[in-house]
Amino acid sequence: MSTLLHPDRAALLRGYAEGSVTWRDLREHGFDDYIQVLGGLGELGLRPPIAPMSGPNVEARRRGRALIARLLRTPSDP
């Protein structure tokens, strides 16, 4: 356990990394900026979450991923 992190903050960050706590929740609990979040995750040996394809915005996210995939496949102009 990191000595630099308060146990409450460490618990919140663990929840964030596993997906039960949101970035908005972290802000409401005193995290001022995302560097603090990344720093805390680093102290705990964790990394930011990648959201599973679920929730209310799935269709719009699928469209976004498909769009990016298509753009990344498009060859650059000579």
């Binding site: 908005r24 900026d33 995302y34 990344l38 990394r47 209310p56 469209r63 991923r65 995939a69 990344l72």
Partner: protein
């Protein structure tokens, strides 16, 4: 003629994650213009002394042909709130919505892609029309990984938190030194007690 399209950054988190992993340039890979609302930019730059914040400013300046800051009414309100000592939490996202509305209104063909932080996009409903799509930092990195343009999304995220730890330790040391310096100045200033008092 190609319809106007923009990638709009709604929050500081994708910027901080990517800058700490030396990967901000991945935002340019889809070759879309990148729009950063003023309130998001201000939230980045108010993180004083953070190497990540400096890196983002440098990156924006190096890509002014593709990356632009978007002035918003919310950004003006943000400045006013700061002067009055009120909270500015969440204004970056509101500014992004305002930037999106302006962009979409400007042309009937305009399309936009909103870049969000992962945990928020999974939980909160974002009301948008068919011309707007959403993507999270993680989704974006996964697509780059699938296209073979990065080694792995997980590697970039791990690098960001590893370097974030170093930045945060540095910030804590600097703020600790600042506090110690302030205390020393108080103790050695006029009227301070000496050992002989």
């Amino acid at each position: 003629m190609t319809a106007p399209f923009s990638l709009i950054v709604t929050d500081t988190s994708p910027l901080f994650t990517l800058v700490l992993a030396d990967s901000l340039d991945v935002l340019l890979r889809p070759r879309l213009p990148v729009s950063i609302p003023d309130a998001v930019y201000f939230e980045v730059t108010r993180v004083r002394g953070a190497p990540g914040a400096d890196g983002i400013v440098e990156w924006i300046n190096a890509h002014l042909d593709t990356v632009r800051l978007v002035p918003t009414e919310i950004g003006i309100d943000q400045q006013r709130r700061l002067e009055e000592g009120r909270s500015i939490r969440g204004l970056g996202e509101l500014a992004a919505i305002e930037a999106l509305e302006r962009f979409i209104r400007a042309s009937p063909d305009a399309n936009a892609l909103l870049l969000f932080e992962d945990s928020d996009i999974e939980r909160r409903r974002v009301v948008i029309d068919d011309r707007v799509a959403l993507i999270s930092t993680g989704d974006f990195l996964r697509e780059l990984e699938r296209a073979g343009l990065i080694q792995s999304a997980d590697h970039i995220l791990a690098l960001a938190s590893e370097r974030g730890r170093n930045v945060e330790r540095q910030r804590l040391t600097v703020s600790g030194e600042g506090a110690r310096r302030g205390l020393r100045e108080q103790l050695s200033g006029p009227g301070a007690m000496t050992r002989n008092d």
